[in-house]
């Protein structure tokens, strides 16, 4: 058994590395084909995110919400429910945070209190809207994927309505809220970059999630319900409550992510389209194999790629549509679960066979 696990682990690493090499190979090839100056393009795509404080800050600015949506999606993904409400609550939380910050709170409120209240608002928004598809799924057996995807749009338009009706700034020509008060903004840790205090919230979320996952009965039952529902039922685990808890916790973390993103990076709330941050959270969860301990790695990888692509876009002549395609190729290959799966099974089979032989010999 140990041998199997060792092989699986090694293959996991080899698989991700091979996928990265192939994906980057394909992208580099494409860059060479379409770019007049492939050297610069490749450099910007691969090294660009590390070439200046600001660009690295941009990477971290993406990394922070990914930590939160990624851990959130770990809950959902581990419970084997494909609930994508994280996308909708992400922007709804951002909207509620802006609403509370601009309309209901005095700008004189102490900074720490302001921030804590806003994070609480984000978390509650996430939990409230996240519980709808979860309850419908577990109590009424309505497919959570359908409900959550539909709800994402409902939340998007509801948020746009809130901006329009409650906090729209008449001095600008596009739809956005009034500027957030200074007290509502997370402190920038490094001036001139987007590295903000939200990173502590993100790290705290990873630690808390890991503790819940591996050190509490709730985490255990979520994992069991997800990986082997029949066993969970036979063992008498309260499936309904664990699964609802997993989905609501996931949405809560996504909600905090939206709140932190708005408070950390933006001057106003201005999302009038889905942000994709919730869907990216699912990618992070997939990259980190639904293990919250690996979420920082997955989040960093995705943030690095997104930033590299953005830097490539605004420093070279490569059109932005192509940049999106390249990202998709990389993600596709990394997320492909069965890539190199045949090799893995062969090796496990061989190892087990030789072990059995040895065992037979010793006997």
């Amino acid at each position: 058994m140990k041998e199997t696990r060792r092989i699986e682990f090694i293959f996991e690493i080899v698989r991700i590395l091979a996928a990265l090499v192939i994906a980057y190979g394909v992208t580099l090839l494409c860059i060479m084909l379409i770019s007049d100056n492939p050297g610069e393009a490749v450099y910007m795509f691969a090294i660009g995110p590390f070439t200046s404080k600001r660009r690295f800050g941009q990477l971290i600015g993406k990394f922070i919400p990914y930590l939160l949506t990624g851990t959130g999606m770990c809950f959902v993904y581990a419970s084997n429910r494909f609930n994508l409400i994280g996308e909708g609550v992400y922007l709804m939380s951002g909207c509620m945070v802006a609403l509370v910050a601009t309309q209901f709170m005095s700008p004189e409120t102490p900074h720490m209190v302001f921030i804590l209240v806003l994070i609480l608002v984000g978390a509650l928004t996430g939990a409230a809207f996240g519980s709808i598809p979860a309850l419908l799924r577990e109590k009424a057996r309505i497919n959570e994927t359908v409900v959550s995807i539909m709800m994402n749009y409902a939340l998007l338009y509801a948020a746009t309505y809130l901006v329009k009706a409650q906090m729209y700034d008449t001095s600008i020509t596009y739809m956005a809220s009034e500027p957030l008060p200074a007290a509502a903004k997370l402190t920038r840790l490094v001036s001139g970059s987007q590295i903000h205090a939200g990173i502590f919230i993100g790290i705290a979320a990873v630690i808390v999630t890991a503790l819940i996952f591996f050190r509490t009965p709730l985490g255990y039952s979520i994992r069991i319900c997800g990986s082997n529902p029949k066993f969970a039922r036979t063992a008498g685990i309260g499936m309904t409550s664990s699964l609802i808890a997993a989905q609501v916790l996931g949405a809560t973390l996504s909600g905090i992510g939206g709140a932190v993103d708005i408070m950390g990076i933006y001057d106003r709330y201005m999302w009038t389209g889905l942000t994709n941050m919730g869907f990216d959270g699912l990618l992070v969860a997939v990259l980190s194999k639904k293990n919250p301990i690996f979420v920082p790695l997955g989040a960093f990888l995705l943030a690095y790629m997104r930033t590299g692509a953005a830097v490539l876009n605004y420093t070279t002549e490569i059109p932005i549509e192509f940049v999106d395609i390249m990202q998709a190729i990389i993600i596709l290959l990394i997320a492909a679960e069965h890539f190199l799966g045949g090799f893995k099974e062969k090796y496990i089979f061989k190892a087990t066979k030789s072990k059995n032989k040895e065992a037979a010999k010793n006997a």
Partner: protein, 385 residues
């Protein structure tokens, strides 16, 4: 379940792709339109008179390839560069609003550019206001700002506000005269202030020319979705509407296609274009077969506005630290006056329109603006009355 996950992932990625690239036909890879007269002339610069200084423009936009708003800004920058022997480059920012600030700062920090031209959307005008004081050597021009924005004291920032309500008023009046069914439609790309300013002018124009006409207003979701516009146009035509003003450059083919499919002018069906002179632009593109249904267009002359602004800058008369409204009088907006419009509009309507244009310019006819309403609700009540 793994399969389901795989499908979901693919969906997520496809979504990301369409969300980013939606509706853009042209690949938009042109980056540098260097105009070289200055360089070629520099060897004998002592004999030829030269502009005081060679400038380099950087144009920041969301996505090129819409044959309208974003493209027009780029045309304007290229035109100004060509006129004065400057260089112009473009950066497409894409859909992810979180990267705008960094892209903006990367551009101004690169030291390569002396003039930054941006539109105002998605916080780009905020960025100009925020960072212009930190970069006193760079000039910032932000177009499509709100006339009520306050930029006083920032003496390297100039804002252009378009009076889209004035141009829309004219096409609205035309629609009011052209309709046979007394039912008129307008589609707005999104329920946002600038969109509603188009609507305000248009509705006022229709009511001015034809008080009996009924107006249906439809909004899109902000994405450039030609099939959605086609669907909405189809529903409007079904309800008896015969003139539709489509305020969405990128989605416009949806309206033009639907109107063409219903027989166009022969059946009394008219479409009104937006931003560029769409009949002319479509005639010259792969959309030529659906061009003839566009009777005229409300032009938001971003290109000419930028060139005009640069002219004033070169003359030294550009009042930095202000947002100036460019209306019909300043040639910032207008109605496309092309042969197609002249050939297909009844003589009495042409006469009426020419007079109306003069009246709007002189101020004899006052055009309301969305920005005059105290709140959205007040506008909505006026719109739906």
């Amino acid at each position: 379940m793994k399969k389901l996950l795989a499908i979901l992932l693919v969906m997520a990625m496809v979504f990301a792709l369409t969300a980013c690239g939606g509706g853009n036909d042209a690949p938009a890879a042109t980056t540098s339109a260097a105009a070289t007269p200055a360089e070629s002339g520099s060897s004998n610069s002592e004999t030829t008179p030269e502009p005081a200084k060679t400038e380099s423009i950087i144009y920041l936009c969301l996505n090129l390839g819409d044959l309208s708003f974003n493209d027009l800004g780029w045309v304007g920058c290229q035109g100004a560069a060509e006129k004065y022997g400057w260089t112009a480059e473009v950066i497409e920012l894409g859909k992810d609003t979180s990267v705008y600030e960094n892209a903006f700062l990367d551009a101004v920090d690169s030291g390569k550019y002396s003039i930054v031209v941006t539109q105002s959307n998605y916080g780009l005008s905020d960025l100009c206001i925020k960072y212009a004081p930190e970069y006193p050597d760079i000039k910032f021009v932000s177009f499509d700002m709100s006339a009520s924005a306050d930029v006083t004291g920032i003496n390297n920032l100039f804002g252009i506000a378009f009076k889209q309500n004035e141009g829309s008023f004219l096409v609205g009046a035309l629609a009011g005269k052209l309709t046979k069914s007394n039912k008129i439609g307008v589609f707005l790309f999104n329920d946002v202030p600038v969109g509603n300013d188009f609507a305000t002018g248009y509705i006022a124009g229709v009511r001015h020319a034809n008080p009996d006409a009924e107006i249906s207003v439809a909004y899109g979701g902000g994405t450039a979705d030609a099939s959605k516009l086609q669907e909405i146009s189809s529903a409007m035509f079904d309800s008896g509407v015969d003139v539709i003003y489509g305020v969405s450059g990128s989605a416009y083919p949806g309206l033009a296609k639907e109107a063409t499919g219903r027989g166009g002018f022969d059946n009394g069906i008219y479409a009104i274009g937006v931003d560029s002179d769409m009949w002319t632009v479509y005639k010259a593109s792969e959309n030529a077969d659906i061009a003839d249904v566009i009777i005229t267009s409300m032009q938001k002359k971003v290109d000419e506005a930028i060139i005009y602004t640069m002219d004033r800058y070169v003359e030294g008369t550009l009042p930095f630290g202000n947002v100036e409204p460019y209306g019909i009088a300043q040639n910032g907006v207008g109605m496309a006056d092309n042969e197609h419009y002249r050939a297909n509009t009844p003589a009495d309507v042409l006469e009426y329109m020419d007079q109306l244009m003069k009246d709007v310019v002189s101020g004899a006819v006052e055009v309301p603006s969305y920005f005059d309403f105290a709140s959205y609700d007040e506008f909505a009540a006026w719109r739906d009355q």
